[in-house]
């Protein structure tokens, strides 16, 4: 490390092409330095977004690894691959139009930029529309998030899943186990998490009617979709049945947070659109367009991960 002072000035006062550039902030020397700085800042911010979603992906991985059949059941029974695929195509296309728009801004093509931004907005709106269709379908089937989910143990008007079965000396009618019973506790070998049967918080109380075995159908009647789904549900192990709610929590939290980011993105793109109409951008200054484009690509990228993880579970 040299100890001699260098004769280089800390910041030059050279007036380059950005001289008196109205967009050049006073603490930057050149527009290039400012643009590089802005882009770096945006990339760091996108990194923070990835980490935030990362937490959700982590929770998803843990629960799916511990209960793969739960996720398989819930995804196949309740998620429409068709709509998910449509949304994926919509978002990828909107990313294309956004990138095209940034290019247009670089080349001073205002009209093209406007149409690209409008198409991106339409794509975003289409995405939200499909999500609305999906969410309302889930509402109709009583599989929303948390307490509005029929599989949730908190839900008193429950789907009345019989609590985890007792050992074999049981009559055909299922009865809850009292809180103080010292009988054998089922050890869920997969997870190390033991299902404690002494939990009184089942969707069940002494005052409720007993859930009887499913009624027999006439043997030649074709089972409805719902009945098929219920049948597959009953085939899950007791501890898995109890955890179907977890899949929906993951689904709604992940797609919900993503949806919020789509809405924010729409706001940002609209703001860029307004500024374009006001002639704020040119090939010399298009930084906001670039940065919003980066944000939109991130939103798309997150969906590209969400789609297979949630919709394509086999």
């Amino acid at each position: 490390m040299s100890t001699a002072s260098t004769e280089v000035s800390a910041h030059s006062h050279a007036h380059g092409p950005g001289h008196h550039d109205p967009h050049l902030a006073h603490h930057f020397d050149t527009p290039e330095q400012q643009f590089t700085s802005a882009k770096l800042g945006m990339w760091i911010f996108l990194g923070t977004e990835i980490l935030m979603f990362g937490g959700l992906f982590c929770a998803y991985s843990i629960y799916r690894h511990n209960h793969p059949l739960v996720f398989k059941f819930a995804a196949e029974a309740y998620l429409s691959t068709k709509w998910g695929a449509i949304n994926t195509v919509i978002l990828i296309t909107s990313s294309l139009t956004m990138a095209w728009g940034v290019r247009a801004a670089q080349l001073n093509q205002k009209k093209l930029l406007i149409s690209c931004l409008v198409m991106t907005l339409m794509g975003a709106a289409g995405f939200l529309g499909v999500k609305t269709i999906e969410y309302s379908a889930k509402w109709d089937e009583h599989v929303w998030v948390g307490s509005w989910n029929k599989y949730n143990g908190d839900n008193d008007a429950s789907y009345a899943t019989p609590p985890p079965a007792q050992p074999t000396t049981q009559p055909a009618i299922q009865i809850p186990v009292p809180a103080y019973s010292p009988t054998a506790i089922a050890d869920d070998a997969n997870t190390g998490l033991d299902v404690s049967q002494i939990k009184p918080r089942y969707a069940y109380s002494f005052n409720q009617s007993i859930q009887l075995a499913p009624p027999k159908r006439a043997s030649d009647a074709k089972p409805t979709d719902e009945e098929q789904r219920d049948e597959r549900y009953r085939q899950l192990s007791a501890s898995d049945q109890w955890r179907v709610n977890t899949f929906f929590s993951c689904y709604f939290l992940m797609t919900g947070l993503h949806g919020i980011h789509v809405i924010v993105g729409m706001g940002l793109i609209s703001w860029i659109l307004m500024r374009t109409l006001r002639n704020d951008f040119s090939s010399e200054y298009f930084t906001p367009v670039d940065l919003v484009g980066l944000y939109w690509h991130l939103v798309d990228l997150i969906w590209i991960f969400l789609f297979p993880l949630l919709y394509l579970i086999h």
């Binding site: 040299s2 100890t3 800390a10 800042g41 923070t48 990362g54 998490l193 977890t246």
Partner: protein, 592 residues
């Protein structure tokens, strides 16, 4: 700058960043990093006052085994316990989220970082202002909720939305999601908002250090304070979003019963702890790294000596930042993790001790053959070295699995983290404030009172927290409102120590106030530092540098000589020839 220009500072009418424009809006809407630093200072110091007041109240309440501050009948018994639980939650949450994490980066970092880079501002001044307002919003919400709980439990005063928080600052599930008072959601939201202030400050600092470094200032020619801020910002940017999502999940659990952390709905309470500590362990490095950066500056300048082992210190800052992400599991040693996971985290935890040890030895190496001035800043820095050594060494007990099992969640842990957070970080903060006080305000503080406060704080701090090591080793768990009478002597000593600490901190505050009001005018370079912030007047002008400063090795202190007429340092007129060859590694002998 020539001597004449320095002496021109004595002229009464000086335009600096404080006088550049006036009026409430010029402060409320300022984009000047220096003013933003001062705005943060007001709020952050108020947070320290709030958290500190409750610390003293806590300790007072613990003077007797049975919360003597309330009458002893069953109704008051409940009230007393609720009050204590709200108090320690408030103390922890305010100190962590509103004081320690922002303190050095937002106050000293905002002020000094651009100047150390020879720049006029940070990379994103508007983002900087937005960070401040986000902090304000989060702080106000948080304080309201927490104080609401205090007022309700202590005085039966019911603020609107004054719910209170009684989960501790760690919000462990399922207590926080099923049993805690209602304020939990709003309080967690406050912490969420405060987190964004931290993230955006980190983004700003990283971009600034990357893009605003002047020509000639390579990475290894930056002051170590900037290395520390850079490492801190990396952690802020990578870890805080995980806290954000954890808090969101906590709110979803509480409001929507999604069942992610609640075992009766299929969730896992220990998963919350993993998520929470994945942020909160790196967070403690957010707290300490800037402090270490300050100490590197103070030790070097106040002993007039080039920092020893620059490269090792710089790299160990980054190493701490990265290794800090790998050790969160040591907070879960007794939570029920598998033995394999416990062992892995124990080994990784020890790795984090090494960069800290390296720094301590390097600082001692800096003092060797220096010319040490016992300014208040230097005394706080020396206190830091001793207390950080104790704090770090006691971490060894907690990193080793067999000794951690009995010591986990006891007063031993409380003593350990107070040694590093208060004994180290607060001492570093005070050292930094004394060091840069003349630059920020253009006034000098009375050094005698500053020295007195440093020594008193050192005594008070050890009196408060050393007995807690012993108490914890003897088995006293933490977060206890009442305790078996056998522990009383330790609590009494500890409380007396806390009063000594309070007196010394009040002395510091009065010292600063007196300095602001009646202090001597400060020269541009009162201590003789060579980093770029000393190359401008005190206080700096609005755009920092009237003439662009010349980039040099920031620890080339021999470039300055003392001028008694201004009681400050001026550039040495006759520079010795540039050293090359083997002698380049040596500091040049000087008379001062």
């Amino acid at each position: 700058m020539s001597i004449a220009e320095y002496q021109s500072q004595k002229k009464p009418k000086v335009d600096n960043y404080l006088t550049h424009n006036r009026g409430f809006l010029s402060w409320a809407l300022t984009l000047d990093h220096k003013r933003i630093g001062l705005l943060y200072m007001m709020f952050v110091l108020s947070a320290f006052l709030l958290g500190g007041t409750f610390a003293v109240l806590l300790r007072t309440s613990l003077l007797t085994p049975n919360h003597w501050m309330f009458p002893s009948d069953p109704a008051h018994d409940t009230q007393a316990k609720l009050f204590y639980n709200n108090m320690f939650s408030l103390h922890g949450a305010v100190m962590v989220f509103m004081f320690i994490i922002p303190a050095i980066p937002a106050i000293l970092g905002n002020f000094m970082l651009p100047m150390m880079l020879g720049a006029k501002d940070v990379a994103f001044p508007r983002l900087n202002l937005m960070s401040f307002y986000i902090y304000c919003l989060g702080a106000i919400l948080f304080t309201w909720i927490l104080m609401g709980g205090i007022l309700r439990t202590a005085f039966n005063i019911h603020l609107p939305f004054g719910f209170g928080l009684d989960t501790g600052w760690t919000f462990y599930t399922p207590f926080s999601t099923s049993k805690a008072e209602d304020g939990m959601v709003a309080g967690v939201l406050g912490a969420f908002i405060l987190g964004f202030s931290s993230i955006l400050t980190g983004v700003n600092f990283i971009a600034s250090i990357h893009t605003l470094r002047p020509r000639g200032m390579t990475w290894f020619r930056m002051p170590l304070f900037l290395w520390a801020l850079y490492a801190t910002s990396i952690i802020q940017v990578l870890a805080t979003p995980v806290l954000a999502i954890t808090l969101l999940l906590l709110i979803a659990e509480r409001l929507l019963h999604v069942g992610i952390f609640d075992s009766s709905l299929g969730g896992d309470p220990v998963l919350f702890q993993h998520f929470f500590w994945f942020y909160s362990h790196p967070a403690v490095y957010i707290m300490i790294l800037p402090g270490m950066g300050v100490i590197s500056e103070v030790i070097s300048v106040h002993s007039r000596k080039h920092i020893f082992g620059y490269n090792f210190i710089a790299l160990s800052s980054v190493a701490l930042a990265l290794l800090g992400f790998l050790v969160w599991g040591h907070h879960l040693f007794v939570a029920g993790q598998s033995n394999l996971v416990d062992s892995i985290f124990s080994l990784l935890t020890f790795s984090v001790a090494i960069p800290s040890a390296v720094k301590v030895f390097n600082w001692l190496g800096t003092l060797y053959r220096g010319s040490i001035r016992f300014t208040p800043a230097m005394l706080f820095a020396m206190g830091f070295i001793l207390l950080f050594t104790i704090g770090g060494l006691t971490g060894l007990f907690l990193g080793a699995l067999a000794t951690d099992v009995p010591l986990h969640d006891t007063y031993f842990v409380i003593a350990h983290f107070h040694y590093v957070m208060v004994g180290s970080m607060v001492f570093a903060f005070l050292a930094g404030m004394y060091h840069w006080f003349p630059k920020m305000f253009g006034k000098m503080c009375n050094p005698a009172w500053g020295r007195f406060a440093a020594i008193l704080l050192f005594i008070g701090f050890n009196t408060t927290f050393f007995p807690q090591f012993v108490m914890g080793a003897h088995g006293s768990p933490r977060r206890w409102a009442t305790y078996p009478v056998e522990f009383q002597p330790y609590h009494v000593i500890s409380t007396i120590g806390s009063y000594i600490m309070a007196i010394s901190l009040i002395t510091v505050a009065l010292n600063w106030l007196a300095g602001l009001l009646w202090g001597k005018k400060a020269p541009a370079n009162p201590w003789g530092g060579n980093s770029l912030e000393w190359h401008c007047p005190s206080p700096p002008p609005y755009d920092n540098f009237p003439t662009p400063p010349v980039v040099d090795d920031p620890y080339n202190l021999a470039a300055w000589e003392y001028d008694a007429s201004i009681e400050g340092w001026v550039p040495r007129k006759s520079q010795p020839a540039a050293a090359t060859g083997p002698a380049a590694n040596r500091t040049r002998p000087v008379t001062h």
